[in-house]
């Protein structure tokens, strides 16, 4: 038996009217309540934040990127430093992606074969070759608690034939990843694909479940498709996944998608959205989005979100935040990142509580009544 029990999903409570569920994810670096949102620390730092601040907001696991860390500073260097947890001063959970999505995103800079993906670095144009084995080696060097199988992510839109062939290769790659993975203090999750074809989604999930991984990513979504189509693909995928394993919707994290994902049985999410838009001056609030640079906030001495208890909202006015933004002061990127992460992490806590109290749907409706609907993707 090759699988380790490094990471275990414990189901605590299922919603009686939806597929939403509350659980606990046990890892070598702590146990974390699900559903969970994982802030993204692409280059071994959640942008603008110290690890202590991220933890204080309630984050349990963060995501870091294999592709980026492989290129800089190098996974060998991180291994020498004692692994990613120590290198970046984050003693809690870490998940690394496989690099599959990043090299896919390079577009013309990469070439995919059965063996792996040849690509050029976005930093210096140097040529590299990722195989399933290489991705696993890098992720073992980094030492995250959860690592992801190297997958191929079809573009949107993709022909059915492409999606079919791609999911088959992703399945073969998942097997190669497992064969290459030897660290017993990490769990290797597989990634389901299948493009935007419900039956292929089902097939991908079924074939990977047969291989019995300790957790499953749902990949290839939020790649340009309309949100209803993404939800359809979730509806096709999640019922195929075992109840006693964690389900992770990759790269998704807007407030509306978190609700919709949890409703369909997803346990884990990650997304650069809250941190990236913060640096562009956009805040998620209980009443929808706020663009802080707008002139209407120039003399608005109220807090960003009257219902928010985060550090930013407790201490600063919209007028001050707007001033900092116009003056391009680093502090504003920090303050908006704190606010947005707090908003999403707090949202996840509230969602979980509503599941425990069997009022998920009412909580969802109450949220959107205030927040407003979001259209499109």
């Amino acid at each position: 038996m090759h699988l380790t029990a490094a990471v275990r999903y414990e189901l605590i409570k299922e919603c009686t009217r939806t597929s939403a569920r509350a659980g606990i994810l046990h890892t070598p670096h702590g146990s974390f309540e699900t559903p969970i949102f994982m802030p993204v620390g692409t280059q071994a730092t959640v942008k603008t934040m110290t690890p202590e601040e991220v933890r204080e907001l309630g984050a349990g696991i963060i995501l870091s990127n294999t592709y980026h860390l492989y290129l800089r500073p190098g996974s060998d260097l991180v291994r020498e430093a004692g692994g990613l947890h120590k290198f970046m001063n984050w003693p809690h959970g870490i998940l690394t992606d496989s690099g599959g999505f990043q090299v896919f995103s390079l577009g013309p800079l990469r070439k995919i074969t059965e063996e792996g993906v040849r690509f050029k670095s976005h930093i210096d144009g140097s040529e590299h070759f990722f195989t399933p084995e290489k991705s696993i080696q890098i992720q073992m060097d980094l030492g995250a608690d959860i690592i992801m199988a190297f997958d191929e992510c079809p573009p949107y839109p993709a022909e059915r034939e492409y999606a079919q062939k791609s999911l088959e290769m992703t399945t073969r790659w998942a097997k190669r990843c497992r064969a290459a993975h030897t660290r017993e203090d990490q769990a290797l999750f597989a990634i389901t694909q299948g493009g935007m074809y419900a039956d292929l989604r089902k097939e991908s999930a079924a074939r990977l479940v047969e291989l019995d991984f300790p957790g499953y990513g749902i990949g290839g979504l939020s790649v340009g498709e309309p949100k209803p189509l993404m939800y359809e693909m979730l509806d096709a995928t999640v019922p195929e996944l075992p109840k006693n394993k964690a389900r992770y919707l990759m790269g998704v994290g807007s407030p509306d998608c978190l609700w919709e994902g949890v409703e369909r049985g997803v346990d884990m999410f990650d997304c650069v959205l809250p941190t990236r838009v913060a640096r562009n001056g956009l805040a998620f609030t209980s009443h929808g989005k706020v663009v802080i640079r707008n002139a209407e906030h120039a003399r608005d001495f109220e807090r960003l979100d009257p219902e928010c208890s985060c550090y930013t909202c407790r201490h600063y006015s919209r007028a001050y935040l707007r001033h900092l933004y116009k003056a391009e002061e680093i502090l504003v990127y920090r303050l908006l990142t704190i606010h947005n992460l707090h908003m999403l992490l707090n949202l996840m806590r509230n969602i979980r509580q509503s599941i425990l109290e069997n009022r998920f749907q009412e909580a969802k409706k109450a949220f959107f009544d205030k927040y407003g609907e979001e259209k499109g993707q």
Copy 2:
């Protein structure tokens, strides 16, 4: 009697062999031990830092810039927000400069007459006119504890005749400033000038002391002259200033200059240096300067400064800091700012302690034996 007792300098201990002295500066927002280094928060934020972090490092007073805040967000807006302390969430001491040095620094963008200075905004090119009265009005709107008289700062080098005329105008402007100043919860400090002419320095100080201000800035230094010349000018100026008033050497803050300034009787310093160089990857350590981007640090898993107890040194390696710097991650600007401010604020505490224990000169020698000498400016 127009002078207020808003700010008072209390002399605690004089060094028996040098002019160094330890004291306490009492302000409406707290009492702070001197000699003191004031971090600079040009645009109502100490770059990259929260106010709580600045305070935790031991800072008591920060400096903010009249010229910058007048242009953006506007001093009327800051007044509406309840003043600068409230606007920026800093309930401790604040000193604002007068804008004199900033408009001087604009070079060809400004024109000086007896009435005041006409200048163009560095932000949008719009035309503005600062007079002593205008500078005081803005500073009253901002509401700092200590405000500075509007002065004219001669360039380096400057002809004697220019320096003479300039100090005379600065004296007349100081009188106009005082006449315009009506807030009793602020203290207005005068600024001594005199170029690089010892007798003019003495004259400027004597004429302003005659007017009996509650404190004295020493301006027009660190403007390009060699350091020994700056020290000469301090030697000429400080003995003219009264013992029961604070002496503030404006815009100076490298470790060596702090020692030399304190030795000559200076109580207060401010400088963008520690925060600015931090953002360029330069750290002050007990063993001299460290340029973090250098390749030698790539696999150096030791702390930045083995003798430092700051947050950065306790939690991160040089290798990690270098990685963040190469990756242009905001966290590194924070971590190096924390370190550099800690280094200077801690240095000032140690200097003060050495004065109290009458071992200033030994402490100075011990510091430079490790830190190394700095040449020129």
